[in-house]
Symmetry: C2
Subunit: 327 residues, 2 copies
């Protein structure tokens, strides 16, 4: 299996991809290549990895990712996706500009027949472990049918890659009752009830941490807002704790003592520690890692890529949209 | 000034309203009455407050609040809103079923001319103190024009009741760039830019805690999801801290030492500690208190009611919708 890693857009530098790739080659016995600017070639090769040259980067600060993908043909993301499309690699992992990876994925790799929109999945923690949130920003205005397709794709992902049997699917709404929600959500509730996947009903945002669902479906606007608000609150909680330590000496001592355990426990709330997620609905495996990834998180993203390839998830989503019986 | 308090729907019992009312009468020199079932009459009168009888309650568990308002004509909410409409009181404060108070407010008290939809405001903490989030659930599908009206009303509320000069208005979106957002948000961005209020641009949910806005506008679907997700995460953080103390003895000692200061600091994240918020767009002052209110929070809701009446906020919103110059 050959996996291509994007070296661009990483907060901790291209070294994150190189070190994670080296680790993945050793531990998972994968062929790993890194796509990057010529100046990183020697570092990549010293790590025992293959190198693919690119001549520009799309940064997280490129304001219009679709435009950037169209213009910067020689960017790491464009080069990487084209090599994936050409069949030289089995999967592409990127911690780069999310919008650019998504736009490039749709433009270069293309959507599975029958999939109206690709979806971006997020991972949200809960008392019973993380669950999948979809969509977190690919499709701001989702029709009920698009929401249905997100649920179908995420169910395949949960089953094949995460190994969850008969994954539970919920629909995010402003109330658990069927008559609650915006128009698209209310119509989606009807479609979900007629579907073959394991729909367990609407869920309110207050209850997401209880761990009662495997998949939570919503449009890319509400999903993006929710997941970013949760990230913001996590940072704010850390800020408040620091303020508490500053204000009060006893609190400082206490928090000092509890720090190690708290840090360990709070890890579940830190989005940057999660591995990557596949873009659902593309014809070939593209895995989005967090730009904040450390080596461990990037390594986890590579193992997600491995699992997506091994289980032939893309093919299974394709089949689901060919009218085959959806299990 | 005569203020009527609803005794229904309070997690800590009708006593919360009675005690807060007693306190408000003493400290703010207000005429206070409580509407409730006949069995609480003596308790209300012993506290030195007036009593208004009702014969049923709409509970937070009534699944269809609009239906409940139509059917339970003798409920505390219906009786209270009718007494407000009749002019016997200057404001109505309720910690009861939010949907019922909203539906009843629109049905019985009525909307200000020109206001298409009433809006429910929420209060969200930040590093520079709380700001106003609107709408948090009254209008799941908001048109750009409705979002504009929410911004106008919230600006009046912020200026008149909260005393903020030239309040900053932001639009919640999945990106700070103008071209980001769902269709309604993108169109609202254009309307906001042409408006007379102090629009400072789109805001991402990750940045809401930085304290850079006074008002954050969104539709009732995304707003409800965001505010409930934040509540859920606050509860989850508390759960994680308890787990940390259980798992590790040193952490338990440390958190024990830091507890008092942390509790004080974390208060800002606890939605139940905030005072009430006015329903924006109704012809008369209706203030929604949190069902979880303790006496202090309910008292704060009464002082919000006082401020709304004193500043004639309702009239000022009415004027803003009469085509007067909006400051």
């Amino acid at each position: 299996m050959k996996i291509l890693l994007d070296s661009s857009g990483l907060d901790n530098g291209f070294e994150t991809a190189v070190e994670a790739g080296k680790l993945a080659k050793e531990k998972m016995n994968l062929d790993i290549a890194v796509v990057g600017l010529p100046e990183i070639e020697s570092a990549v090769k010293s790590a025992g990895l293959d190198f693919e040259p690119a001549f520009s980067e799309i940064t997280p600060f490129d304001e219009n990712p679709s435009l950037a993908i169209r213009r910067k043909k020689d960017s790491t993301i464009n080069v990487g996706l084209n090599l994936l499309k050409a069949g030289k690699y089995d999967a592409f992992v990127s911690g780069g500009n999310t919008g650019a990876v998504l736009a490039g994925g749709m433009l270069i790799v293309g959507r599975i027949n029958g999939v109206k929109r690709a979806a971006l999945t997020g991972i949200v923690p809960s008392k019973n472990g993380p669950f999948i949130l979809v969509d977190i920003g690919a499709t701001a205005d989702a029709t009920p049918e698009m929401l249905l397709s997100f649920a179908i794709m995420a169910s395949k992902y949960a089953k094949e890659v995460l190994g969850i049997d008969n994954p539970r699917v919920s629909l995010l709404s402003n109330g658990v009752e069927e008559h609650k929600g915006n128009e698209a959500t209310k119509a989606a509730n009807k479609l979900f009830k007629e579907s073959n996947f394991n729909f367990i009903g609407n869920m309110e945002a207050r209850d997401i941490f209880e761990g009662n669902t495997d998949i939570l479906v919503t449009d890319g606007f509400a999903g993006n807002i929710m997941v970013k608000a949760l990230e913001g609150e996590f940072l704010y909680v850390n800020y408040i704790l620091k303020e508490a330590a500053k204000d009060n000496f006893i609190a400082k001592i206490g928090l000092g003592l509890a720090k190690k355990t708290m840090k360990k426990k709070f890890r579940v709330l830190d989005a940057t520690k999660f591995g990557g997620v596949p873009l659902l609905g593309l014809k070939q495996p593209v895995i989005k890692a967090h730009g904040n990834s450390n080596v461990e998180a990037y390594y986890n993203s590579i193992s997600v890529a491995k699992k997506v390839v091994e289980t032939d998830m893309t093919k299974k989503i394709e089949n689901a949209f060919k009218g085959e019986v959806y299990e």
